[in-house]
């Protein structure tokens, strides 16, 4: 069985390049870089507050692109900006995609952009336990590289245990696509990662990573190492 992929989400802040380097050093395979938005509907309280702090720290889109370029100078892993439709709408969809790519982005996640909207914008598609098989197929056909399985019906945030809704979603997704499946939302510990690894090809960890990052690169590296060993077990 091939190595499972570990995706780590961090909110774009001035110190994010250093944090990304620590995360990759500890075993992260790809990084989602959050560009803050004032009204993040898909996010729970931890990432919402991280976005509020980032906006207060002046992390406008231009500054986020600079941070993205600084991250690219330090690491070679895939970098995936994650932000909301309003940011693209204001900046210009094609312009922001182009400028992010030239700053080092390898793909994109837009959590409030359903698969059948802006089909010309190649991006990582998200599916959820509520997605019908028809929509799973649509997302799998459109997605860029891997399919993002939202494990729960809910917003981002740590949960006590891996959601029981992941297994049926993974099974239904396998039936419609050969694309790698990575699970996110609610995965926060090495134990969750290990349980998820039995079902999918990788995991994305956001809320817990954002919390650890608040305590600095060493705390983040400790978390990532724990997640890595859970995935590799």
């Amino acid at each position: 069985m091939s190595r499972k992929t570990l995706v780590v989400y961090l909110m774009a802040m001035p110190d994010t390049p250093e944090l990304v380097e620590a995360a990759v050093g500890a075993g992260a395979d790809a990084i989602e870089v959050g560009f803050p938005f004032s009204d993040p509907l898909a996010d729970g309280p931890v990432i919402r507050r991280a976005g509020e702090r980032a906006l207060a720290a002046g992390m406008r889109v231009g500054r986020c692109l600079e941070v993205l370029a600084q991250i690219r100078e330090r690491v070679d892993v895939p970098l995936i900006p994650m932000t909301y439709a309003s940011i693209y709408d204001a900046y210009g969809w094609a312009e922001l995609e182009r400028e992010a790519r030239s700053a080092g982005a390898t793909s994109f996640i837009v959590p409030d952009l359903p698969t059948d909207v802006r089909t010309d914008f190649k991006r990582i598609q998200m599916v959820a336990p509520t997605s019908t098989d028809e929509r799973l197929r649509l997302a799998a056909d459109a997605t860029d590289g891997w399919l993002y399985l939202v494990t729960v019906t809910g917003t981002t945030g740590a949960r006590a245990a891996l959601a029981p809704t992941l297994a049926p979603l993974a099974e239904r997704s396998r039936r419609v696509t050969d694309a790698p499946l990575y699970a996110g939302f609610g995965i926060s510990t090495g134990e969750h990662a290990r349980a998820a690894a039995e079902l999918v090809d990788g995991v994305a960890v956001g809320t817990r990573a954002v919390e650890a990052a608040e305590d600095g690169p060493r705390a983040l590296a400790t978390l990532v190492a724990d997640l890595r060993s859970g995935l590799d077990a």
Binding site: D39, D89, P114, T153, G154
Partner: protein, 378 residues
């Protein structure tokens, strides 16, 4: 393909997490079927007549506006005191047909929360209302009313602590509980099919008012005026007058929350519309004395009516609204909602002789805030 309107020019659409798409599809197909369903329409009409108090009258405001003929469409006389019940009744009937037993709503001034709590009490459904803590302070009587009606009011303590954040939290609740829950959105905003659905449920305002003014005046008005926050009373008032080319449609925004007058294109709460947003697409804070207008977005159909030129949108300051509030109390014996007072101000000075204005709600809920602002508190 659906026949429900999903976009209005470049506005509208569905900008929501994938989790909600199946629920929106389900709601859309239910609505598509029910809007032409005779049994549904009959049940709604019966409730409007026997429970909600429709039709509401129009009232000539001769002392309020001595130099012109101004008529008030009296949505303030509806049960619960505002037009919001038109929408809540219809949506809860739809939720029942979808088998949803848990109802959530957001509220700003509290009128939509009260309307939703009322209908949930009437039908025995669980009701949870999200409300910004600043609005809970400004509209305390409505918080007590909702609780009295058996609803749970959940305070939203972050961001602006007003309608914008209350709406975001209601949508997050819906994402987490979508299989058991119907979200009764309170205005003609949100992802499709909500803007069309809410418009159609509020259209009764303009349909009645058009017939009523034709009956008393023998002609159509020169102007139809309504306040615009999210825009549901305005779209309901305007819609049946859209084909009447000689009738000006005037939406009145709070000057500090003029999403149409000073806004730009952007995406908020599931739809693209005209918003108070900065050059980066970050949503900005709105400011209004009226909690119901204190919202940085607006229904996508209004943005489209503005761009097409069919409707015009003008501002009104807090002070102008307060002056109209007092004037209507003193000249007509009617206490208007602060929201509606914005429309009253422009009904008095727009360039028109025969004016029909939507008095969207009554002002009992606003007394404490008016007295506090004018230094007359206890």
């Amino acid at each position: 393909m659906t026949t429900v309107t999903r976009t209005f020019g470049d506005y509208g659409g569905r900008y929501v997490p994938e989790t909600l798409i199946p629920a929106l599809d389900e709601l859309e197909s239910a609505w598509e079927q029910l809007r032409d369903d005779d049994a549904f329409k009959a049940e709604l009409r019966e409730l409007q007549a026997t429970y909600a108090g429709r039709p509401t009258p129009i009232t000539r405001a001769a002392r309020f506006a001595p130099d012109r003929r101004v008529y008030l469409k009296r949505e303030d006389l509806m049960h619960t005191g505002a037009h919001k019940l038109n929408n809540a009744l219809g949506q809860v009937l739809i939720a029942q047909r979808l088998g949803k037993q848990r109802i959530i709503a957001e509220t700003g001034a509290g009128q939509h929360g009260v309307a939703t709590a009322t209908v949930c009490a009437r039908f025995g459904l669980e009701c949870i209302v999200y409300m910004g803590s600043e609005d809970m302070r400004r509209q305390a009587p409505n918080v007590e009313r909702m609780r009295l009606l058996g609803a749970e009011v959940r305070a939203v303590e972050f961001g602006t602590k007003t309608l914008k954040e209350a709406t975001s939290e209601a949508i997050r609740d819906w994402i987490a509980n979508v299989e058991t829950t119907h979200y009764v959105i309170g205005s003609c905003v949100g992802p499709a099919p909500y803007p069309e659905l809410v418009r159609e449920l509020q259209r009764v305002i303009g349909r009645e008012a058009r017939a009523q003014i034709l009956e008393v005046e023998g002609r159509l008005p020169d102007a139809v005026v309504a306040c615009v926050g999210g825009g549901s009373n305005a779209i309901g008032m305007f819609y049946d007058f859209i084909p009447d080319e000689g009738v000006r449609l005037i939406g009145v925004e709070a000057a500090g929350a003029a999403s149409l007058g000073t806004g730009r294109g952007g995406v908020l709460h599931g739809a693209r519309s005209s918003l108070l947003a900065d050059a980066d697409g970050q949503i900005m804070d709105a400011h209004s004395i009226s909690a119901g207008l204190d919202y940085p977005g607006v229904g996508p159909e209004h943005a489209w009516l503005r761009d097409s030129g069919r409707a015009e949108y003008v501002p009104c300051t807090d002070e102008e609204a307060l002056a109209s509030f007092h004037r209507l109390c003193e000249t007509e014996g009617i206490v208007p909602a602060l929201e509606s007072s914005h429309a009253l101000a422009r009904a008095l000075d727009c360039d028109a002789e025969l004016v029909l204005v939507c008095l969207s709600g009554r002002g009992d809920k606003d007394l404490a805030e008016v007295f506090r602002r004018e230094g007359r508190g206890e």
